[in-house]
């Protein structure tokens, strides 16, 4: 056996007692049928790893449900037997979020992939967990509607992204994708079916989580540890016919921050993002490669859409004003041509260029992970400069992205870090660098999203005791036997 295989063998652990497998499987079969559950090793193996540095772990069973009632029955059974349950849609996150820390049942929701409703007048869509970005994009376009498509694979789940506070291409205009959720249907870890938002009052009203108490917060950002979300309503938006993407570059992160801050005050962009030279490359260089001296260190694309030429011209006028102001400040900002494939990959979403990880980790070899954070814009520059030192010291590219969220001067600061997953040493090197970066960001006021356990542990170290106690109480209240994706929150 090769060195690699020994390593992998050590990494894959399982929690099941083989003696119990048959009896559990028998019960699972009663719930979902023979074809939808298995304890076969080769099937479990395919769920044991993802793109991240998180060590592979096998689930003990894989179950696919086709209807809500099956999920209820499954969770009642799992809760009674105290078997962990890990909800799974596309498995496309880069934080090991669906790698089962304690074995148990991997609940694959891909067969629940109905677009329940699209209301082209109310601009609300109701979807199940297995609906992919590609499927929804296809369906919405028929009504000339859109959603904030993320830079993930077209096969990724719209719902998983939204409930995990994922980002999308309309963040500067409408906020995070989780802020687009208008109602939810959830199966609690104890098997009860609950609804939050307007659909809790009238079954077919999916338009808003307000003005009721925002119980949707009990299921957003919990990484599948508080229940199984079975339907969500989301806001969808008309597609204006005119697209204009403003692109600039500069030499210093401070100059880019100044430009983005200025432009974001006008709240006119769908997406206002900057990427470092390393992230603008397709693919990101791995290992680290110095930027050519004559290349700018930062590029920005500000995506705007308009209904009329006059509206577009007005946006151009504002942008010209911002640009002139920034130049007058003596910054290094200049008009630029954004690298073609990278621009395409970031503005034509969903995208196979970025989503396929061609941009992210084609060169690295199988591995991609991140410090992905929500960070006040005013500390982007100092955090980036520290990240750059850390990443270069680890021979990794500082491939960083900064995005403004809905003009409130905080946003996404993240570094996409490719690595060679075939090598345990290189994987550990990436993990170490990423965690170091995360610590810097946490200490500067940032908060990670979709965090791997390594991050959760760092959050806990810094968190207010009152917050942690509340979190524990809520978790205990919702999931008394800690069956839902246990271990992921670090509590």
């Amino acid at each position: 056996m090769s060195e690699l295989s020994t390593l992998q063998k050590e990494q894959v652990v399982t929690a099941a007692d083989p003696g119990n497998v048959d009896s559990v499987l028998k019960e699972l079969r009663k719930i979902v049928g023979d074809a939808n559950c298995t304890a076969s090793r080769h099937i479990r193996y395919a769920y044991s790893y993802d793109m991240s540095f998180v060590k592979p772990k096998l689930p003990d069973y894989v179950v696919m449900t086709e209807k809500v009632e099956q999920i209820q029955e499954l969770l009642r059974f799992a809760n009674k037997e105290k078997i962990p349950v890990v909800p799974y849609t596309g498995g496309t996150n880069i934080g090991g979020l669906t790698i089962p820390e304690r074995g148990g049942i991997l609940l694959d929701l891909k067969k629940m992939n109905n677009i329940v409703d699209i209301d082209p007048e109310a601009h609300v869509a109701v979807i199940e967990p297995g609906v992919s970005h590609a499927k929804l994009a296809d369906a919405l376009y028929k009504h000339k509607l859109r959603f904030g498509w993320p830079v993930g694979p077209p096969s990724a789940s719209v719902m998983a992204c939204a409930v995990s506070h994922g980002i999308g291409g309309l963040n500067a205009k409408y906020g995070l994708n989780s802020q687009e959720i208008t109602s939810m249907e959830v199966v609690l870890p104890t098997g009860e079916l609950v609804r939050v938002g307007s659909c809790a009052i009238r079954h077919d009203a999916w338009h808003s989580c307000l003005p009721l108490p925002q119980l949707d917060g009990l299921f957003k950002g919990w990484l599948g540890s508080s229940g199984v979300v079975t339907k969500i309503g989301i806001s969808v938006h008309p597609i204006p016919p005119l697209l204009k993407v403003f692109t600039v570059s500069c030499d210093k992160v401070e100059d880019m921050y100044s430009y983005m801050l200025n432009l974001s005050n006008y709240e006119m962009c769908d997406d206002l993002t900057a990427v470092s030279w390393w992230l603008a490359q397709v693919p990101i260089p791995y290992p680290f490669r110095p930027k050519p001296n004559d290349a700018p260190e930062w590029f920005s694309f500000a995506t705007t859409t308009s209904w009329t030429e006059k509206e577009k011209e007005a946006r151009e006028e504002i942008w010209e004003k911002v640009f002139e102001e920034e130049q007058k400040k003596g910054t290094s900002i200049k008009r630029t041509v954004y690298p073609e494939e990278a621009l395409k990959g970031r503005t034509q979403l969903p995208s196979q260029v970025v989503g396929s990880t061609k941009n992210y980790c084609k060169q690295g070899g199988a591995g991609i992970s991140w410090p992905g954070t929500f960070t006040p814009a005013k500390v982007w520059a100092p955090v980036y400069n520290k990240w750059k030192d850390i990443l270069i010291a680890h021979n990794l590219s500082p491939s960083v992205r900064m995005s403004m969220y809905r003009g409130v001067h905080y946003g996404m600061l993240r570094a996409m870090i490719p690595f060679n997953k075939q090598s345990a040493e290189e994987t550990e090197n990436a993990r170490h660098a990423i965690v170091e970066c995360l610590k810097v960001d946490l200490d500067a006021g940032g908060i990670p999203y979709k965090p791997p356990i390594d991050f959760a542990n760092e959050i806990i170290k810094r968190a207010d005791p009152g917050y942690l106690e509340l979190l524990r109480r809520m978790k205990k209240f919702l999931d008394p036997n800690d069956i839902m994706n246990p271990g992921k929150l670090g509590i």
Partner: protein
Amino acid sequence: MDWKIAELKELEDKIWRCTACGTCKVAYDYGPPPTFGEICPAGTEFGFEGFMASKGKIAFARGILSGELPWDDELLEAIYKCTVCAGCQNQCQLDHKPYIPEIIEAMRRKAVDEGVGPMPLHKNLLQSMKNYDNPYQGPRRVRNDWTRPFKKAGKPIKDLNDEPAPVLFFVGCTGAFNTAARAVPTSTASIFQKLGIDFGILGENEICCGSTAMRVGDSEEFKRVATKNLETFKWLHDERGVKTIISSCAGCYRAIKKDYSLSSEYDKVMEGIEVLHTADYLNRLYKEGKLQFKGELPWKVTYHDPCHTGRHLNKFIIDQEGKQLWKGAYLDEDQSACLYEQPRDLLKAIPGIEFVEMKRNRANAFCCGGGGGVMTGFGEWATKNASLRIQEGEDTGAERIVSICPFCHFNLNEGAKRISSQIKVHDLTELIDQVLVGKSDD
């Protein structure tokens, strides 16, 4: 004759280029308008990630190589529950993209080499190849049965064993032995006769192209028949003046064109011989104004792209020297050898036909479900999958579904029967034969 057929271990570095991102799982195009479709027959049917597209198959390959997935009946079945249609390959953008079908078939080769594969029903097929030189357990004599009507009509087909001709019509086992697909060789030969093409067949001496053996992982059996065929082609060229090999079978065409090129002698043996699919050959003649149609076929027709004449013929541009990205990096693809437009152009040229596209077409066409040994190994599933494709055809409002592969033809017919569909399945040659003006009609 040496053959360069990779073992799974040789592909290990490629296998580790897969990130498990899952882009391979759905057919998607940005457009606008954006288009989405399921692309993986096995994923659609069985659902679990291991069955799903290249992401799942790569997981199996990693586990098999590392020793974490020792052979058992379920794993063996799982690696054969794939039509090797390459729909997933069409979505992937990473460095292992050019090798995805090869990785899947290399797992099968490993299973066969280690004595655990292929599936029981495949073993019958391979034994038949050894006994009869065809996978249908058909006596050699039967291979010529389809030619009887020509003989009766006083238009016998030339036997290249005895006479020279510049064109070899390589009939293929499915057209010759599978009576439900027999219209394919008869229509092809009828068209050739109408056009006055000087062609011949190998008759009882034709042997299987080896495609099926290759698809189920028996590379030794493939090499045996492929070597024999290459020797025959050389002889036909040198002794019978054959300059063109034409096949109406997508599987034979792909095998001769692509799989045979894994032979060290391929370029030398095939020098002076062009290999064409009938659709391509007829389309050339049409473009030259040599096809004339009489009457009309007043039908609404859609077209099903066989994998073997479509995305299987993709050429991948790889940075061999590491000059653009790095050594072995996948750079781009070249679809110019894929027969996407030729059959469509011919269909649109037939008077009376209203042509409509299915949603999933060309490189994103949904496989009929019969490939990769699935029709033999898992017939019921193959039929079920074909019925999904038939339904997609019906959704266009088409009355007829046309293809250029006898394998697809047979399987789609079975799929249509399964759902009692009224849609009729045809080979392209059948339609052309109905309206083509022959020399004697002038």
